[in-house]
Symmetry: C2
Subunit: 180 residues, 2 copies
């Protein structure tokens, strides 16, 4: 009886320690925002009201991208830019609205030459959402890429965002400068 009880206690202790360890590991993984064998999380939902964000800058990407776009940001982003605050605080949302870069026939008729290039059909919307806990694995930024149909990119296609943006470490992974 006694040996049986001791054995039982041993098993119970082992069970309790094991449960505790599993719980600790689970907490650590949860705090990091993702399990080690899972891909880093990215943005899968369009932030509300992004088309009302204020303008940070514009950009023309020539060549294969052939895009003309606007880079607006939410209030947290605009405040951080204007105050020159780095790193960007949690809650920052940066958007890049991309369109085909097309000549404006209307404008060019008036100018009398091909001079004016404007946004054509929308191509995609890219996002950077700052949440230093949720997106700890990608520098505190959640990256997002939504097609013209509003559908988010898949995990595989999102793998290239962070390694490229990481090259802009000096400006908290952000390429865009605020246009005065």
């Amino acid at each position: 009886m006694r040996a049986g009880r001791r054995n039982c206690m041993k098993h119970l202790t082992f069970f309790l320690v094991a449960t505790f360890l599993v719980a600790v590991v689970a907490l650590i993984v949860a705090a990091r925002g993702h399990a080690d064998d899972e891909p880093a999380p990215f943005v899968t939902e369009m932030p509300h009201g992004y088309r009302d964000f204020r303008w940070i800058s514009s950009a023309h990407e020539a060549g294969k991208l052939n895009s003309l776009g606007a880079l607006p940001g939410n209030d947290v982003a605009i405040k951080a830019y204007r105050e020159g605050k780095l790193p960007f605080p949690d809650g920052t949302i940066l958007a890049a609205l991309h369109y085909r870069y097309v000549p404006s026939d209307e404008n060019n008729k008036i100018f009398g030459q091909v001079q004016s290039f404007v946004p054509g059909a929308p191509t995609n919307i890219q996002l950077m959402v700052k949440d230093s806990r949720k997106y700890a694995a990608t520098g505190g930024w959640g990256f997002g890429n939504f097609g013209a149909d509003g559908k988010p990119g898949d995990a595989a296609s999102m793998k290239t965002c962070f390694p490229c943006h990481e090259k802009a470490k000096a400006t908290d992974l952000v390429f865009t400068r605020y246009a005065p």
Copy 2:
């Protein structure tokens, strides 16, 4: 005495009628917003908060202008664009923030080619302010042009705005389309 009185009355009547006519003419001129021999009025003060206006579109003007810009508008403008409302209502303010169109050395280093063009030094800010009374002589729009130093253009340089914008009569003298 009697003839003198009659003469006096005649003069008084003439004086009253003349004063009345002058007042009527003055009112008509005031209603039109400017005297016939004065140049049409234009915008000489920057509207408050224009850098917080929401984004309507971007544009690249190649050639001599060599500019990259953003076209933001105030709340009245954004509402009218989204509702497809023409003509634009009084109170509409449209801005065009122009910058030199320059390659981004930072971005191009990362892309490995000259591909990325961004706003460089600010060049000028142009405005269209809708006030159908004040700017009746120029289609209800007051045009404005402010240099990088914030100084407004002079009357002579503003004479070219209206004749060119008048070519966009179908869209209430506005070239810019709302980017979705």
